[in-house]
Symmetry: C2
Subunit: 218 residues, 2 copies
């Protein structure tokens, strides 16, 4: 499997409750046109049948853009719609099972410290989601933020690429972009809830790419 | 795949909230020793990681008994633990996707009328769960009961085996057992919440097997 490192740069994670009533597919396409490099469909409150339909629609919508679509939690749905991969958390299906079922598709794992990061890497994760980076209203079940220092410690613990997640926006993405080994930033509300989704994605992408350490790193 | 018709006779569906504090694995084994013919792990409120662990434990515990274990909703977890199959409802992963992912493993589909039954059969279901048969406190999201007549209509609409589900207990299983084409009855609380789980399973199995139309039918 090719590394997904470059595609993690500005990684949009969805939440239909945050689009301010706008259609999710349209919102994702706006974000992609603004410069988002990868998309994760994460809809915790959507029944599996509807979630599968949404995943299929998004696969079709994203096809012309060559943007990978990752499915949160449901490995079966990732396989059913032939998504690029699946992303799981610490209370989802075990990483070893997900790895085996996904074969060569991308497996992302959420971690909050270096121990979980090493464990996930050992189990065959292709990339890690490191967080919760900053305080966020999107996830309500997290156990405190790890900040840029926590993200840096996770990057240093593993060789696979890492994307930070949690409360990332235009005001703090620069602090993360300054971590040389960090591959990307996952964003939810700073893009999906923005007045102008495309402009918000463009700004985040530009802040990420423009950080001093990025030119020699990518 | 061999037909699962005979194994549907008394089909235990789990719910940890109904065991009155008793261990789920122990409770299932008691039910199996009482005469339950098939088991479905259905734990709607359990995170996927814990659900997978429970499924693995149950696979090991059931192995000596040759009792099929069916996993509710999560096809990926059914595949991960190599369960006998998966059971899905109308708002779970689409039946066509489940069928493809499960390959030759058993696929059960919940239906509430003849149209859904024919559709599920066409899509490749191996058996149907027909309900909600009688009023039940176990499921709170159902749209009214279909009674023995509704179960009979579903049986007559398809060729694959059907198990009734919903509010089935010692007082009403006889009415269902009198439907010649019905392959079985799925039971939740009448077994798991019984004072003596083994005795409750034994009684239901005996009422099922002893019904007048059963001897020539099986």
């Amino acid at each position: 499997m090719p590394s997904c490192k470059r595609q993690l740069a500005v990684y949009l994670v969805t939440d239909r409750d945050l689009t301010r009533g706008r259609d999710l597919i349209e919102s994702v396409l706006d974000a992609v046109q603004g410069g988002v490099t990868m998309v994760q469909l994460r809809e915790k409150h959507t029944p599996a049948r509807e979630f599968t339909q949404l995943a299929r629609q998004l696969m079709r919508a994203l096809a012309p853009y060559k943007i990978p679509l990752i499915i949160n939690d449901r490995v079966d749905i990732a396989l059913a719609v032939r998504a690029s991969g699946a992303h799981i958390g610490q209370s989802d299906i075990p990483a070893a099972d997900a790895r085996r079922l996904l074969r060569r598709a991308i497996l992302g794992v959420s971690v909050q410290n270096a121990d979980e990061a090493r464990e996930a890497e050992k189990t065959g994760a292709d990339y890690l989601g490191a967080g919760v980076a900053y305080a966020t209203g999107t996830k309500t079940d997290y156990q405190g933020t790890i900040g840029a220092e926590g993200v840096r410690a996770i990057c240093e613990a593993v060789r696979i690429p890492v994307a930070a997640i949690g409360g990332i926006n235009a005001a703090n993405i620069g602090e993360l972009a300054a971590i040389p080994r960090l591959a990307g930033a996952s964003v939810v509300s700073a893009i999906l809830s923005a007045e102008d989704i495309r402009a918000a994605a463009r700004e985040l992408r530009s802040l990420w790419d423009g950080a001093p350490c990025r030119s020699q790193n990518t």
